[in-house]
């Protein structure tokens, strides 16, 4: 942004950086989270960010299917699975 | 209907919507909803509704029967000075405890206390729920409440006028009047059998001193206890007579109990209390006033 040059703030670039940062951070959080349900939340965030990335690539249909299938179904099934397992196992994993 | 037929479990799922739709149409378009908008519209309450008490000061005799029957001990008697009535005792009600059972109304011997249709008694402060007699006062409640207790004409004895002439006993066609001797006094007192009395007024007519008068008395459904005097303990102090709200206790001199004074003259004879049970309202004030435990009140567990 040196003086004299034409300044063009690229919106797409900005949004892309934001989304990729969100994707990466949430993906890291999935691994790092202590509570297993928290990692599921991270996973959902990751999926949603990826869906947004698809939209940026003007692949709307893929993005929608990504949300519908991954967030709406896969994450919920994972959450279900975690909750239906016994609490004691979860607690022993934590420690 | 008798035995309602058991419908099969295949009733149509949306069947109840028909019923609710009927009510819906009625309350939306055809008529009005079933409720009233309370603080602005009010329902008419029946005349016998049990709400806030009202006390007719002129009828009330301050017997404290209402205070005694109250299951929650929410009433009390308050001493007041009234320009018309002088020194009186009248009941107050604590609406924080009142359960509106209506026993106070039922037991009142003069039907001076009533429950009105007023029910909005709530207040932010608990102390304001205590309604003193002045707040309950309503001296003319005709028409506001139902007075359904039946009245009865009964000969009421004024012992101070009675001369024990026995004329009334002779005159009574139903033999309802019996002359009963009063212990240690040497006189007889007409006692009236209320079950036999037909309110014929003959005794009133024959009484030379007009001591017997027929008066309208409210019937009571509560059994009146009979106070009994223990002559040995009675000192003749007449505290009970002063305390009696119904003027049913008379002090009579007992002949032969005069003390011989130092100068040989005879002093005043001892007095004793005589109960006129027709007038008794069963309040037990005499029992509680007597310091010498000379009055027995039947059935009280000590």
């Amino acid at each position: 942004m040196a003086g004299g040059e034409e300044v063009t703030l690229d919106w797409e670039m900005f949004v892309f950086l934001f989304l990729s940062a969100a994707t990466l951070l949430s993906a890291i959080y999935v691994i790092r989270a202590r509570e297993i349900v928290h990692s599921v939340v991270g996973l959902a965030t990751c999926f949603i960010a990826i869906a947004a990335l698809y939209i940026m690539l003007s692949a709307e249909f893929v993005a929608i299917v990504q949300i519908l299938v991954y967030v709406g179904a896969v994450v919920v099934v994972i959450l279900f699975g975690i909750m239906l397992t016994r609490r004691e196992i979860m607690e022993s994993e934590k420690r | 209907m008798a035995q309602a037929k058991k419908k099969s479990s295949l009733g149509f799922v949306l069947q109840p919507m028909k019923r609710t739709g009927k009510t819906l149409a009625n309350s939306l378009f055809l008529g009005k909803p079933n409720t009233v908008l309370y603080p602005y519209q009010k329902l008419d309450l029946p005349i016998g509704y049990r709400g806030k008490h009202i006390v007719d000061f002129k009828r009330c005799i301050g017997c404290s029967n209402c205070v005694q029957i109250c299951p929650n001990d929410c009433m009390w008697m308050e001493k007041l000075e009234d320009p018309e009535l002088g020194k009186i005792e009248r009941p107050g009600v604590d609406y924080g405890r009142c359960l509106f059972c209506g026993f106070c109304v039922e037991i009142c011997p003069t039907v001076a206390i009533h429950e009105s249709v007023e029910f909005e008694l709530a207040h932010r402060e608990r102390s304001r729920l205590k309604y003193g007699p002045k707040e309950l006062r309503d001296d003319s409640f005709a028409g506001k409440v139902k007075e359904e207790r039946q009245k009865r004409l009964l000969p009421i004895l004024d012992m101070s006028k009675c001369t024990s002439c026995e004329k009334c006993a002779g005159e009574c066609p139903e033999m309802a009047i019996a002359m009963m001797p009063i212990e240690n006094v040497g006189r007889k007192k007409p006692e009236i059998n209320l079950n036999k009395c037909t309110s014929c007024k003959k005794c009133e007519a024959v009484c030379p001193e007009s001591a017997l008068k027929l008066e309208e008395v409210y019937e009571s459904y509560f059994e009146m206890p009979e106070p009994k005097l223990l002559i040995k303990s009675c000192t003749g102090c007449s505290a009970c007579s002063k305390a009696c709200p119904a003027d049913a206790i008379y002090m009579m001199e007992m002949p032969g109990t005069e003390k011989v004074l130092k100068d040989g003259k005879k002093g005043k004879p001892k007095k004793r209390a005589v109960f006129v049970l027709e007038k008794c309202v069963g309040c037990g004030k005499c029992f509680r006033t007597c310091k010498f435990e000379a009055i027995e009140w039947p059935g009280v567990r000590k």
């Binding site: 942004m1 003086g3 004299g4 300044v7 063009t8 703030l9 919106w11 509570e35 349900v37 928290h38 939340v41 959902a44 709307e60 249909f61 929608i64 299917v65 949300i67 519908l68 967030v71 709406g72 179904a73 994450v75 919920v76 099934v77 959450l79 279900f80 909750m83 | 799922v13 949306l14 109840p16 919507m17 019923r19 609710t20 739709g21 009510t23 819906l24 009625n26 309350s27 939306l28 909803p33 079933n34 409720t35 908008l37």
Partner: protein
């Protein structure tokens, strides 16, 4: 002129206005400032900035309209419930319109309540769940147009996003995730059971719902709302796809959790279901969002089956759309208060054993209609 152009015009005008002042400032100030001023001004007038701002404005407009509609819905809910229960309902709050402001009054009351987080709750989940729930529910509204010209999901050239309807359903499907999270994070047995039931219910009813909607997509030949509604110009899809319409309504009732299927909030067994531990405005927002979902459900039913904004031209298109959505919601309310709630195993049974085969039959009917060339 559609909503996008309208908003674009406003934004353009505003930017022009501000830029006049801005450039004047740049001229007045020393030269090294002036360059910076010019750069920012150019950026503000750039196409990208203008379209982003336009979308923001659109979102604000649509959300405000949605909020007003939700207030209306809660009012209808109370008033209708009251009249059905044979009492007046809210009456005095709201000048002239019996009790319309009662909702606002309740909202203010909820706002001033204390915010409590249960001591042993999982804080992150507890705080995140309402956000996801509300966010995903408002996302549904983004795609729903009120008429051909009144909708957010347009792009710069003014054409609608082709997969709008699918996007709405996808946003619908995020909710069970937040409900499960809320139920789990509250650390309470009732909320946990409520969350489980809710997720099981939403997942099992999602499938017949999507299958019926698929039949609509098939007949309309598009995923976009505008094309679907235009395809119903002659005949509403509710008539040829009558079975599908019924299935759609039942599934919608399950999705928005109203009484025959309100097992997650079955107040007799589970106190308040998965919202038990939420109080104050958090509960208020849940309640609010549930109403938003009902509104979105009504709008979806209208757009997909009831001919959208088509109607006699006496009334504007947008109003037609709203009237139909309101009617759908009212019928839902009628059903809600007239029926008992089913048991959880019975509900899953209905979903899997009855509705799913029926949805398949419905899809076959749609395929037959399409292959006959009638649509």
């Amino acid at each position: 002129m559609n909503l996008f152009e309208f908003c674009y015009g406003i934004i353009h005008w505003l930017v022009d206005l501000v830029n006049h002042l801005w450039y004047w400032l740049g001229d007045v100030l020393p030269w090294w400032f002036g360059d910076f001023f010019d750069a920012v001004g150019d950026f503000a007038a750039s196409q990208g900035h203008l379209s982003v701002m336009t979308i923001f404005l659109e979102v604000v407009i649509v959300v405000i309209i949605a909020l007003i509609n939700v207030l209306n819905f809660i009012w209808i809910f109370r008033k209708f419930m009251g009249r059905m229960f044979d009492f007046y309902g809210p009456y005095y709050v709201g000048y002239g319109i019996g009790g319309w402001l009662q909702n606002l009054a309740d909202g203010i009351k909820l706002f001033v309540k204390e915010i409590i987080v249960p001591a042993k709750a999982d804080k992150m989940g507890y705080l995140l769940a309402p956000i996801i729930y509300i966010g995903s529910s408002i996302l549904i509204l983004a795609t729903i147009p009120f008429s051909e010209n009144f909708g957010v999901s347009t792009n710069e050239s003014g054409t609608y996003v082709p997969a709008g309807a699918l996007f709405a359903l996808a946003a619908f499907a995020i909710a069970p995730f937040s409900i499960l999270l809320a139920g789990w994070a509250s650390n309470n047995k009732y909320t946990l059971i409520g969350g489980m039931r809710s997720a099981a219910q939403m997942m099992s009813y999602e499938i017949p719902l999507l299958m019926t909607v698929a039949s609509v997509f098939l007949l309309a030949g598009s995923f976009g709302f505008v094309d679907i509604v235009d395809a119903q110009h002659d005949i509403w899809f509710a008539i040829p796809l009558f079975i599908g319409f019924l299935i759609f309504l039942v599934c919608l009732a399950a999705e928005v959790e109203i009484i025959p299927f309100d097992l997650p909030e079955a107040e007799a067994e589970l106190v308040e279901g998965w919202t038990t531990e939420y109080g104050g405005m958090r509960f208020g927002l849940f309640y609010f969002t549930t109403t938003i979902r009902s509104y979105a459900g009504g709008a979806l039913a209208t757009a997909l089956f009831l001919g959208g904004w088509h109607g006699p031209a006496l009334i504007p298109d947008e109003i037609w759309f709203l009237i139909k959505a309101y009617i759908v919601y009212t019928v839902f309310q009628w059903m809600t208060w007239s029926l008992p709630r089913v048991r959880v195993d019975q509900m899953l049974g209905i979903g899997w054993k009855r509705l799913l085969p029926l949805a398949v039959i419905n899809l076959m009917i749609a395929v037959a209609l399409k292959s006959m060339g009638w649509f």
